[in-house]
Symmetry: C2
Subunit: 129 residues, 2 copies
């Protein structure tokens, strides 16, 4: 059986993907892949997602330069979630989020408020110029 | 505004949730929450998910004893993914997966095959007895 057929694609033909940074083990971001994106990710060792808003393949870093080098591709117990172990390239310290932050999970619940608790490392206007 | 209203619930009223272990930073599992599950998680500091298969609240550990103590609740840049920082209780070393493994992401792509690369720490028949 094709390894891509082992993945349980959802009703939209997508699978959720978690990108985790090798070394820090930080969870950088969450996105989706379709079959083509996962195949290309495995073949190229560069993270390729499916952009649901733009309805096209999204080669992470294609605009920002913040490419993700993929070291490992993992699948969960139900075959319906993928975990990537990546090196986040393009900036030091690493930036995975389009807001210019290290990771996308920068809002922390504090009582009944979401507080932004991580700094912007590079102005998005300078990332997407 | 209610902090729960800041979350962008999907068309099913759910939000994807990543559970990450404090200390190791390991990604333990992925699941969904509805509004009630997230509210109870925040109030009780114990992870409560929405079981899509059973269509009911799933208080993690209710059968297995493998409860997750929640230290932090984070929200991503698009307000549509939650990250929990947890301590995985109930077994040493910690078990989050229903297969008796530490974490759910135990299948690694190796060439064109998914290999199981993490050991079973406790027989599921002994977990769910």
């Amino acid at each position: 059986m094709d390894w891509l057929d082992a993945v349980k694609w959802d009703r939209d033909g997508l699978v959720p993907v978690i990108a985790q940074e090798v070394g820090s083990n930080d969870v950088l971001m969450f996105a989706f892949m379709n079959r083509e994106a996962l195949a290309e990710t495995a073949a190229s060792s560069r993270a390729v997602y499916w952009s649901r808003s733009r309805r096209r393949l999204w080669r992470k870093g294609e605009e920002s330069g913040h490419v993700q080098q993929v070291h490992e591709i993992r699948l969960d117990c139900d075959n319906d979630v993928v975990l990537l172990k990546v090196t986040q390239l393009g900036h030091e310290p690493s930036i995975a989020c389009h807001t210019g932050r290290h990771a996308c999970f920068f809002q922390r619940l504090d009582g009944d408020m979401w507080l932004t608790v991580e700094p912007v490392l590079k102005d998005p206007e300078r990332i997407y110029k």
